[in-house]
Structure formats: structure tokens, C-alpha cells
């Protein structure tokens, strides 16, 4: 393995993007993710790339739209209120089927909210936000190493499916330092982009990138095509970590930073004789419903506990997957507060009747 270096999550995202062949970055400053832009401002010139501080998040996502249409590997990053502004662009990117990578280092809301870590953007990330029937692939890393690997993967997935891929992190992941080992060379899966606009240059037909279809049958056909693509992604791209569920009595479901806190809880609970396991969705969309459903059918499993930094969002998808076969409880904190191990453990003791 290559040398492990200590790096901040936000910087790792930027470095990973550059390593993945991203040469165009458009952004607008917002805490707690601005270090990505700081890093890019120094790093991009080294690889003759473009970093542009846009006049707004709205402009930034439309620059991404243009650069993606032009065939580039492109990224923008922001945090919750900024992501809300970019939602219009996400919908157009979906309609025009453009590959793009977006990072949301989530902070608390609603409104201007606060700048501390939260997971309150789960609904927005996985169920739209913008208008129309579309899906973004949503990746939820839980460590800095994984943040690196998933950022690289995000670019491959975006190109493969001509789809927006979002990294859903949070203030903790963005701000913390942890060791990361970069590979000597990235596996960049290049895809021919013969649909991109680059000037005809001898091409017989001109290329058009658009998301508007006034004819209802053509519009429906596009929607059917998109839905077929989404089914394909659901079939191929679910990523999930299953931890100690074989003998579990209580199964935690948690993603990102919440899952890390729960890791310690599992250790403590098992030391007390309560058998706890965990399902950690790495892709929030496509959601690992089948895995959850399969674990729900294990006889020893008596109940589920979803832990999130919000008022209960992913828990709805967990309940759909469990489909009433076992009770699903929820524990969450908001406002930038993280649930403590003690609090979660207390909840588990109650659930276990201890």
C-alpha cells in the first residue's frame, strides 16, 4: 500500500477529483466545504485545469452543465443552502443526460440553518429536489479513505450512465482529517462522448444537447428511457456494508458519520450481551432495499433502529424495505448535534428490554 497521509476530507475530495481526471471545477464559497475550492485554486493550475469562482451557485451549476455538455469531467461542490439553489440545474442535467459530479457537505437547516454537521438533505438528495422524474446516484462515504475512493468512482459512474452523481457528506467528513492512501494511478474508465458539443469539426450532423420536448410522445419516450436507465443503475450499482447481522437481535441502519458512531455502539452493546448488527447504505440511491429486506427475514432479528442526523428521513426507505415485517425505530439529533454513543446505547438497551 502507498503511504498514508493525514488530510482533511474537503481537500481529499478535491485531490481525488483531480486524480479522477476532473479538469473543470465551478463553485461558490459556502461553509463547511470551501476548503475544496481553496485546494482547487492551487491544484488546478498544476494540471492546466480550470477553477472558476462563479457569481452564484445557480451560475456554477449551469457552468457545470455547459462543461459537461462539452464533454469534460466536471465538478461543483457546495453545502445545503447552496445545493438548494443548484437543484434547478440538477433537473436539467438529468433531462439532458449529462455526466456531472456534485458534492454536498451537508450542514443544518432549514433556511440558512447552521454550519455544523447534519444529514437533513437525505430527502432532497435521493428523492429529487428539482422538478420532474429523475434520479441522482447518491454516494455516502463514512471515512476519508472512502471519500477519496467514492469521489473517483463518482466520475466513472457519471460517465458510464450520463447521470449526475452526488457525494453526500456532512460537516464532520468535510472538516476532519484522517489518513488516506492514494493509489499511484487511478482507474479512469474513459467513455467515448460522441454526443458532446465540441464544434462539428467535420462531423456530418450537428450535436444538440437539450431537455425540452414539447411533443408529449417524445417527452414520454425520453422519460421511459430515463426510467430504464434508472432500473439498470438499481440493478448494477447498489453498494452496502453489512456488519455483524448474522446473529443480530437489533439491526442498526445508518449512513455516513452516523454509521461511524454506531460502530462503537455495536462494540459496546455486544460487550453487554446485546447482539447488535448494522446495515450501512453506501449508495443512498440506489437504496439497498433488497439487503435490508433479506436481513429483516433473519429469524434472530427482532427490530431495526435507524440513526440519522435529522428528524427521520432514510428511516422511511428502511420501513419500505422492511415492509412491516419487523418494527423499525428511529433515533436522531438535529441542529448540528451528533448523537452520542451513550444516547444510542440507551435506546438499544430499551429496545432490548434491558
Amino acid at each position: 500500500m502507498t503511504k498514508r497521509v493525514l488530510m482533511k476530507g474537503n481537500e481529499v475530495i478535491a485531490e481525488a477529483a483531480v486524480r479522477a481526471g476532473c479538469r473543470h471545477y465551478f463553485g461558490y464559497p459556502i461553509t463547511p466545504q470551501t476548503e475544496i475550492m481553496h485546494y482547487m485554486a492551487r491544484r488546478m493550475p498544476e494540471v492546466s485545469g480550470t477553477i472558476l469562482q462563479a457569481e452564484s451557485e445557480v451560475a456554477a451549476i449551469n457552468m457545470v452543465y455547459g462543461a459537461a455538455a462539452a464533454g469534460a469531467r466536471v465538478m461543483t461542490t457546495s453545502s445545503s443552502p447552496g445545493i438548494s439553489l443548484k437543484q434547478e440545474g440538477f433537473s436539467y442535467i438529468a433531462g439532458a443526460e449529462l455526466p456531472a459530479v456534485v458534492v454536498n457537505i451537508v450542514r443544518t437547516g432549514p433556511g440558512l440553518g447552521g454550519i455544523l454537521p447534519a444529514q437533513g438533505d437525505y430527502f432532497q438528495a435521493t428523492k429529487g429536489g428539482g422538478h420532474g422524474d429523475y434520479r441522482n446516484i447518491v454516494l455516502a462515504p463514512a471515512s476519508i479513505q472512502e471519500l477519496y475512493e467514492l469521489t473517483v468512482e463518482a466520475f466513472n459512474l457519471a460517465d458510464k450512465y450520463r447521470n449526475l452523481v452526488m457525494i453526500l457528506g456532512d460537516g464532520t467528513l468535510g472538516q476532519m482529517m484522517e489518513p488516506v492512501a492514494f493509489r499511484d494511478e487511478e482507474s479512469i474508465e474513459t467513455v467515448a462522448k460522441d454526443w458532446a458539443v465540441s464544434g462539428r469539426q467535420g462531423r456530418k450532423e450537428h450535436n444538440e444537447i437539450t431537455s425540452i420536448y414539447i411533443n408529449p410522445d417524445i417527452m414520454e419516450a425520453l422519460n421511459n428511457k430515463l426510467q430504464a436507465k434508472y432500473r439498470e443503475i438499481e440493478k448494477n450499482e447498489v453498494r452496502v456494508e453489512v456488519l455483524q447481522c448474522e446473529d443480530a437481535e437489533i439491526v442498526i441502519t445508518a449512513f455516513g458519520i452516523a454509521s461511524r458512531i454506531c460502530r462503537n455502539v455495536i462494540r459496546q452493546a455486544r460487550a453487554e450481551g446485546i447482539k447488535v448488527g448494522m446495515i450501512r447504505p453506501i449508495t443512498l440511491w440506489p437504496f439497498p432495499s433488497k439487503t435490508i429486506s433479506a436481513v429483516a427475514s433473519i429469524e434472530s432479528v427482532s427490530s431495526f433502529l435507524t440513526v440519522e442526523l435529522n428528524a427521520g428521513q432514510m428511516v422511511e426507505d428502511v420501513r419500505l424495505a422492511v415492509n412491516g415485517s419487523k418494527p423499525v425505530e428511529f433515533y436522531g439529533r438535529m441542529g448540528g448535534n451528533l448523537p452520542s454513543q451513550k444516547e444510542i446505547l440507551e435506546k438499544i438497551r430499551t429496545m432490548a428490554g434491558k
Binding site: 472558476l52 462563479a54 451560475a59 457552468m63 455547459g66 455538455a69 462539452a70 462539428r200 444538440e208 437539450t210
Partner: protein, 248 residues
């Protein structure tokens, strides 16, 4: 029979959807001819707006991208930064550019983004059926100013070219019209110049083109030309606001 006139190669062989008497068709042709004359048709990427010309990507023979409302200069920026050696233009109306997209056009110009914007000002929203535009004249009746635009209620029209010309990054800004043969010749010249400014890498270039909307003005095509001449040219005088002495 001898063929004395051909469609420009810059436009695809497709009937346009514009209303009778609308001047978008003329403006499309001027841009297309300019691309052919400068031999940049295969080098150019155009950006379509939201408005009556939302689908002009179906007409121009160069590569085209459709943008969301007002964001064409941002989309154009993204394209140009990926392909700095290519030519990029945006085609935008007065609602797209001067209302919802004010921030994008101002900042693209301020950055000196090496793109060319063709800004069609017909003092009204056409696509959505005749609402007031930022460039609607005082007293002009629209579906959202049915008693005439009253500055006390709806504020004043914006002189976009004069505003953009204050920005250092905007190296060439001219207002033209397509309401007479002479004006059309001048407009063609301005469009070519905008492209040449971009080709020379000098900065942002914009041509504002005064245009008619007989349908939503409620005037017949000939009357619309007269209305433009009499009213619009007073508020929006033709001329070069930046880059008068620029030789390209």
C-alpha cells in the same frame, strides 16, 4: 432555371416556427451567414435560451446546447472553458437576459468571458404571451401592464447595452436593429465583428438587436416595424457603446 439565392449553410433545412412579421428569422440568418463567411460553422457552439427561440438549436447547423432560463452565459462559460479554441455564442431574449439572467450576463461580461452574446430586444415576453419585459417602454401595454407601464408601479426599462458597456471585460458592445435594409446590413456587420472579437481572444462581445413582436404588440408586421422605428429607437439608440475603434 438559374438558382439566384440559396439558404445559408449555417441554417438547417427546417421550417421555422416564428410568427409572421417576427424578426427572429432574419437574426438567425445573419448569425448563420456570419458563421459561414468567417468559416467558423464547424468551430462554433451556440447556446439557446428560454423564450420564443428556445428551440433554435434545431435551426442552427453548428453544435448547439439548450440552456435553462437566463443561464446561457453561464452555460456558454462552461463550454468555452472546456473548448477555449472554439467559438461560443449565446442567443437570448430580453426576459432571459435582462430579467432572470441579469446576474449571469453581467458576470460573464465582467469576467471578459470570450463568448459572443446576441441579445434580441423586442420589449416584451413573446413565448409566454405578451407580458412586460425589463425593456418594455413606459406607457407600453402588455398583459401584465394592461394600463401601460407606469414607472411608479413597474419601474423603468433597462438600457442593457449601456449598462454592459461600463464593464471592463466587455470589449465590444453595439446596439443594432433589423427594421430596415440598411439596419440589417449594419446588424450583419456587428455580428461578424462580435465573432471576430471573440476569435481574437479580446474578451466579451455583445450585440443587442432591436426586434419586433407583431403578435404580442397587437400590430400588423409593417406597423410593427414602424412602431420599432418610432418608439424603440428613441429609448434604445443604435450605436457602438464599447469598442468603437476596435480593429479586428
Amino acid at each position: 432555371m438559374e438558382k439566384v439565392f440559396s439558404r445559408t449553410e449555417g441554417l438547417l433545412d427546417k421550417p421555422m416556427h416564428y410568427c409572421p412579421g417576427c424578426t427572429h428569422g432574419i437574426i438567425h440568418r445573419l448569425i448563420a451567414e456570419a458563421m459561414c463567411e468567417l468559416d467558423i460553422l464547424e468551430e462554433t457552439i451556440g447556446v439557446s435560451p428560454v423564450g420564443c427561440t428556445y428551440n433554435n438549436y434545431e435551426y442552427f447547423a453548428c453544435d448547439m446546447v439548450q440552456a435553462s432560463h437566463g443561464r446561457a452565459p453561464a452555460v456558454g462559460t462552461g463550454i468555452k472553458r472546456v473548448h477555449p479554441e472554439r467559438m461560443v455564442f449565446t442567443y437570448q431574449g430580453d426576459g432571459d437576459l435582462a430579467a432572470i439572467g441579469t446576474a449571469e450576463i453581467v458576470h460573464a461580461a465582467a469576467r471578459g468571458e470570450k463568448i459572443s452574446t446576441f441579445f434580441v430586444n423586442n420589449a416584451i415576453y413573446g413565448m409566454t404571451s405578451g407580458q412586460m419585459a425589463p425593456t418594455t417602454l413606459i406607457g407600453q401595454k402588455t398583459t401584465t401592464s394592461p394600463f401601460g407601464r407606469d414607472p411608479q408601479v413597474q419601474g423603468y426599462p433597462i438600457n442593457v447595452s449601456e449598462m454592459i458597456a461600463t464593464l471592463e471585460g466587455a470589449v465590444y458592445v453595439e446596439r443594432v436593429s433589423v427594421s430596415s435594409f440598411k439596419d440589417i446590413k449594419n446588424a450583419a456587420k456587428a455580428i461578424r465583428k462580435a465573432f471576430r472579437v471573440q476569435q481574437a481572444g479580446l474578451g466579451f462581445s455583445m450585440v443587442e438587436i432591436l426586434s419586433t413582436c407583431p403578435t404580442n404588440w397587437g400590430i400588423d408586421p409593417v406597423g410593427a416595424i414602424e412602431w420599432l422605428e418610432e418608439n424603440m429607437k428613441k429609448k434604445y439608440p443604435l450605436g457602438v457603446f464599447r469598442g468603437k475603434d476596435l480593429e479586428v
